[in-house]
């Protein structure tokens, strides 16, 4: 089923809870209202025409205006995929858990909570999964600052900040990088060089270029 059809039938059934569809991107997605996420997801799993029986991934995205929790679904019966996005306010990113619908959501929601700080209401045990349980902050947020130490182990470089090139210096180096030009052809000494000498020097591969201030090469 195409994304436009899915969007139409969702819009028919759930009305204003289905906000928008973005088909301009390579993997189109549907945005729904956070409060209706669970009912819509249950419909997507159970409806015979949709039958999204497998949850592939839940990931969080930190947009400048909001957090987004993106759920990727696939159907093994109909072989189609779908991305469903909910936009959550930055102050309190909270949304209902999908564990009751797909048990696969368990670890994905824990990971998104761990990394992005999105709370999933109703999750049986929403605790960190990859980071240690006493870790501070949510690392994948754009405004995350790495703690300077963890249990007395320093995370700060001791060698000094100016040791490494700044990121923008590095980028300039990459952008300005060009293939090295071949070294310029040796020029004959301006005063002593006669046209005849130059011609001979060209023909003779052994002829050495005049060193600055040295004697002119013998023809």
């Amino acid at each position: 089923m195409e994304i436009a059809q899915i969007f139409d039938s969702l819009k028919q059934k759930f009305g204003d809870a289905v906000l928008s569809v973005d088909s301009s991107v390579k993997s189109p997605f549907i945005t729904v209202a956070p409060d209706s996420l669970v009912v819509i997801m249950r419909f997507l799993r159970d409806d015979p025409a949709m039958k999204f029986d497998m949850l592939l991934m839940i990931s969080g995205v930190d947009y400048p205006t909001c957090f987004a929790s993106v759920t990727h679904l696939t159907s093994l019966t109909h072989k189609h995929t779908l991305a469903v996005k909910v936009e959550l306010p930055r102050e309190a990113p909270e949304v209902d858990s999908l564990v009751d619908i797909w048990p696969a959501a368990d670890w994905h929601e824990r990971e998104t909570y761990d990394m992005m700080g999105i709370e999933y209401r109703g999750h049986p045990q929403l605790r960190r999964i990859l980071c240690p349980e006493d870790w501070e902050g949510f690392p994948l947020r754009k405004n995350y600052r790495q703690p300077e130490e963890y249990h007395g182990i320093s995370n700060v470089r001791q060698i000094g900040d100016d040791y490494y090139p700044k990121p923008d210096e590095d980028e300039k180096a990459v952008q300005g990088w060009k293939a090295p030009k071949p070294p310029p052809a040796p020029k004959a000494a301006p005063a002593a060089a006669e046209p005849a000498t130059t011609a001979v020097a060209k023909d003779d591969p052994k002829a050495t270029p005049p060193s600055p201030g040295g004697e002119t090469p013998e023809a």
Partner: protein, 377 residues
């Protein structure tokens, strides 16, 4: 873990398996609540190998990230490289060359054989059979020698480039690949004599750790885990990417030959049968390998895909590897999220190991074939 153990019944005890344990295939820790020999509950703890791969992706350009994909599933580094390259190429509308796609398929399938050989060898090791490990590593060595010729590395290859490959497949490598595939078919029969049909091995794996198809689907298991439960789902057939629709091959599924559908032996057997299918694909690809450039020379160092997002999925040896990339028109991804197949496959461990014997736990973990580098990323 809480130090409160009052919830334990009188006959129960807590057992800690890992993180340093030979049969957890890396730094996986499983806390097991046992009643004598029976496992009542198993809780996997992961994250010991977490290296912030997704955060790192936001700080570097697309081509710079390719070596980092190696270190996720380090037993199938080539497949990870190509999956990331395909994702970025699709996101940015970048064309590759015909020859590059053929070489990618050949190398991808060689990598699948190499990865399954490790699974086969270490699974024998888990079950107390030491010899298959030596034989499987002998054959894997031949594949690694081909890869070394291609890119100079033996484990983390970084061979994929956006728009093509790092180097061409030369005549000698083609000859080596042909000879390997011919040789491998006879070796494959020996493996079956050695392990697949071994009475002790069957006793340890058949009817153990049965994963019904509906549970596998609900937990998002993919790859040999899902196919072992009898579900015929392979992205190379069902959602073909690259040029996989040009080749003929079968998708082996578990049939309960030695016990129940979805037991450890079935998952093991699906991997064995897949190696055979991979060698079929390699033969066809070698015969049809076109001449031409191996890299789209128009692709520059700086790639700026237009605003947009993509979820690209590829069939890796362990299942469906997905890259979800959000681009805002910069040279670095705004967000790069990875769906690691081992991560999802491992999440079903609690369900599978319920009310099994402790000794079977080793058989179950081995049959999932996890790579902790990918679980933790």
């Amino acid at each position: 873990m809480t130090s409160d153990t009052s919830y334990l019944k009188a006959d129960e005890m807590l057992l800690n398996m890992g993180p340093q344990h030979p049969s957890t295939h890396g730094v996986l820790r499983v806390v097991i609540r046992t009643d004598g020999e029976i496992i009542r509950h198993a809780t996997p703890h992961i994250g010991y190998l977490h290296r912030c791969k997704e955060k790192i992706a936001e700080t570097m350009t697309y081509p710079q990230y390719i070596p980092y994909t190696d270190r996720m599933d380090y037993l199938a580094a080539m497949s990870n490289n190509f999956a990331f390259c395909w994702a970025v190429e699709k996101l940015g509308g970048i064309a590759t060359t015909e020859r590059a796609e053929y070489i990618r398929v050949i190398v991808n399938e060689l990598q699948r054989i190499a990865s399954h050989l490790v699974a086969f060898g270490t699974y024998g090791l888990d079950m107390g059979a030491f010899t298959p490990f030596l034989y499987s590593f002998r054959e894997r060595e031949s594949i690694i020698d081909i890869f070394e010729r291609l890119c100079g590395a033996r484990l983390t290859y970084s061979y994929g480039r956006i728009g093509g490959l790092m180097r061409d497949l030369d005549e000698k490598s083609i000859d080596m690949t042909r000879r390997f595939v011919d040789d491998f078919d006879t070796k494959w029969d020996e493996y079956n004599d050695l392990l697949s049909n071994n009475e002790i091995f069957i006793k340890r794996t058949a009817n153990v750790g049965v994963l019904p198809a509906d549970v596998a689907i609900a937990y998002g298991c993919t790859g040999p885990m899902l196919r072992g439960s009898g579900v015929k789902h392979d992205l190379r057939k069902d959602d073909p990417y690259s040029i996989y629709d040009r080749f003929e091959f079968d998708v082996p599924v578990g049939e309960g030959k030695m016990g129940t559908v979805g037991d450890c032996w079935d998952r093991y057997w699906v991997r064995m049968a897949e190696m055979k299918e991979s060698s079929r694909i390699i033969r066809q690809a070698l015969d049809a390998l076109p001449e031409g450039p191996y890299l789209n020379q128009k692709v520059g160092r700086i790639i700026k895909p237009a605003y947009g997002e993509i979820y690209f999925r590829a069939e890796n040896p362990r299942g469906e590897l997905g890259f979800y990339i959000v681009s805002v028109g910069e040279k670095k991804p705004y967000r790069c999220s990875v769906r690691a197949p081992s991560f999802c496959n491992l999440s079903v461990l609690t369900e599978m190991s319920h009310d099994t014997l402790i000794a079977d736990m080793v058989a179950i973990i081995g049959s999932i074939d996890i790579v902790l580098g990918e679980v933790d990323r």
